[in-house]
């Protein structure tokens, strides 16, 4: 539809519906311009606060930054030395992938399983959904602090509970090998409910007929889930996986608050690595090159899911 066609108001044939005087006349004059005036503030704001930083990051990424006034052009050296041939970058990327892929898998399976089980009408359904909102809305840093206490290898409550049921105590965040699984557990506690609630919303929107015909055909509950629910639910699951994977790749607060990337560099994911390169080591140029590649990776993942979602939408 044409923008002008929609916006051009039929000039008031009768008296103006509401209001009088100069303010009224100004509004009438502005009316044909409404189509660009409404979104204008956001465009201006984004240009200043979002577009400028992106441009500046690209600029920084091909410079060696010494101070705000002393900047030396180095071409693609930052990209070559600190990204493509840097073992530290690959290690951080590997950790990010490890953390994100495992957490995504666990949260999706767990979330869908819980949603499928509780997907029925029952007294107290609203309350259940509300409780599930709490972990993901709670301040991440505050939650991370509490988990840090619970993870304490000597006085922490988790080791106490483990020993109470006869399992060996763990070093949790203090050991190179267990730190990422411990962070995954924390993130899973916080974000599995989102998968549950998205899946519940998806289940509620499904048509009833396929389920009825499956039952008439004598399908077992497992078969109904595998051949009816899951395919119908695919677009919803792709959306859930999309938002989870983007936020998992970007995870910062809980890692910074609990381990700061440690022990050593055992939980230094890309986001932490970039942050520390820029603000601890003050290597703005190198950090900018890394962040450019990082954004490209995150966008790539988003695009894959976007394409996947379109395909899933066509199927459904």
């Amino acid at each position: 539809m044409g923008r002008v066609g929609v916006t051009a108001p039929p000039r008031a044939v009768t008296a103006p519906a509401v209001g009088e005087g100069a303010g009224r006349r100004l509004l009438d004059r502005l009316d044909p311009h409404a189509w660009w005036l409404f979104p204008l503030p956001v465009v201006v704001f984004c240009a200043f606060i979002a577009l400028f930083p992106v441009g500046y990051t690209l600029y920084l990424s091909v410079h060696h930054w010494i101070s705000t006034d002393v900047v030396r052009f180095v071409g693609f050296r930052n990209y070559w030395q600190d990204v493509f041939t840097s073992p530290a970058f690959y290690r951080a990327a590997g950790l990010t992938a490890y953390f994100s892929v495992v957490a995504l898998g666990i949260q999706m399976v767990l979330g869908v399983a819980i949603a499928v089980v509780i997907n029925r009408g029952f007294p107290g359904k609203g309350l259940v959904r509300t409780i599930y909102l709490f972990p993901m809305m709670a301040t991440p840093v505050a939650v991370a602090m509490i988990w840090m206490m619970m993870y304490n290898p000597t006085s922490g409550v988790l080791n106490y509970l483990l020993e109470a049921v006869g399992l060996p105590p763990q070093l949790w965040l203090s050991d190179r090998r267990s730190v990422i699984p411990a962070l995954i557990l924390l993130d899973t506690w916080q974000w599995t409910p989102l998968v549950v609630l998205i899946t519940l919303a998806g289940l509620a929107a499904l048509p009833l007929e396929p389920f009825e015909s499956a039952l008439i055909d004598g399908a077992t509950p497992a078969q109904v889930f595998r051949y009816v629910t899951l395919p119908l639910l695919r677009p919803t699951l792709v959306v859930a996986a999309l938002f989870r994977s983007i936020d998992l790749l970007k995870t910062f607060d809980i890692i910074y608050a609990t381990t700061g990337g440690g022990p050593g560099t055992a939980s230094q994911t890309l986001n932490l690595f970039i942050y520390q390169t820029s603000f601890r080591d003050n290597l703005f140029g190198q950090g900018a090159a890394m962040v450019t590649i990082f954004v490209a990776l995150v966008l790539g993942v988003a695009l894959i899911f976007g394409r996947f979602r379109r395909a899933a939408g066509d199927l459904a």
């Binding site: 956001v42 930083p53 602090m145 206490m149 106490y160």
Partner: protein
């Protein structure tokens, strides 16, 4: 009988999923009412009055600090300012996107939701240092709004799109301008959406850690940042840290109760209704 058993099993399953959720929040509060020694106890003291007497000393110590009140005030000002800004920009934009179908604009806002925060951080830091804005409310409000804006806009686009088209046509026949339609017809109808958007935006800013960590210094430090400071002393005051964590988390949970219905569409920038 079988039916009753099945329902019992069902509710048991729900209770089972609730245990970890509640335990973490319980531990937060329980830690805050234990003394320093009680928090270091091995084995840990699980229940009040059954191993330890709850104490208010962490809470009184925290409330006695002017630093705590200043920080809480900073959090409040920044979150309120960020919400006002995000709504002021986002409402007209959402109306525009819903009315004139600006796909490109909507997609750019989705990109904002996707982009990692670190990509903005260094340029902001340099820019705000030059402007002398580091450690000012201005810098925090502007940057926090970048998280709230996509959330507010996408949520409200959904609400505006759900308005019946007939209303608009009828209004125009009556000589109603776009502004009249926006201000007198559409806005009052999307009120639930506005409230949800405001609260989600407030929570997003209240919880924000990364931007405040860099752009706030001694004067404008917010609560999530100060939590980390409580830890950096030689022997961490776990009780006080837990009390502060409770204070940060509690308002968020209360606000969540108010807007539970639309939170999921907010968190998924409108990709999921419900």
């Amino acid at each position: 009988m079988r039916r009753a058993l099945r329902w019992a099993g069902f509710y048991a399953f729900i209770a089972f999923t609730w245990v970890p959720i509640f335990f973490v929040f319980y531990w937060m509060v329980a830690t805050s009412v234990k003394t320093f020694l009680q928090n270091a106890s091995i084995p840990p003291l699980l229940f009040p009055w059954w191993g330890f007497e709850p104490t208010a000393e962490n809470w009184t110590a925290m409330f006695a600090e002017t630093e705590f009140w200043g920080t809480a005030w900073n959090s409040l000002v920044v979150a309120a300012g960020c919400t006002a800004l995000a709504l002021g920009l986002g409402i007209p934009c959402a109306y525009g996107v819903a009315r004139w179908r600006y796909r490109g604009l909507a997609a750019s806002l989705l990109l904002l939701r996707i982009a990692p925060g670190v990509v903005f951080l260094v340029p902001w830091f340099i820019l705000f240092t030059k402007l002398g804005w580091v450690d000012s409310y201005r810098a925090l409000i502007l940057t926090h709004a970048i998280v709230s804006l996509p959330l507010v806009t996408w949520l409200l686009v959904g609400f505006f799109e759900d308005l019946p088209r007939d209303l608009d046509d009828a209004a125009r026949v009556d000589g109603c301008s776009v502004y009249d339609h926006f201000w007198r017809i559409a806005l009052p109808l999307v009120k639930p959406g506005l409230i949800t958007a405001a609260i989600l935006s407030f929570i997003a800013s209240w919880n924000n850690f990364l931007f405040s960590l860099i752009l706030a210094q001694s004067r404008t430090r917010t609560l999530p940042v100060i939590l980390l400071n409580y830890m950096s002393f030689e022997a961490t005051q776990w009780g006080k840290l837990a009390a502060a964590s409770t204070v940060v988390t509690l308002p968020v949970l209360l606000l969540t109760l108010l807007v539970q219905r639309h939170i999921i569409s907010g968190l998924t920038t409108g990709a999921v209704k419900g």
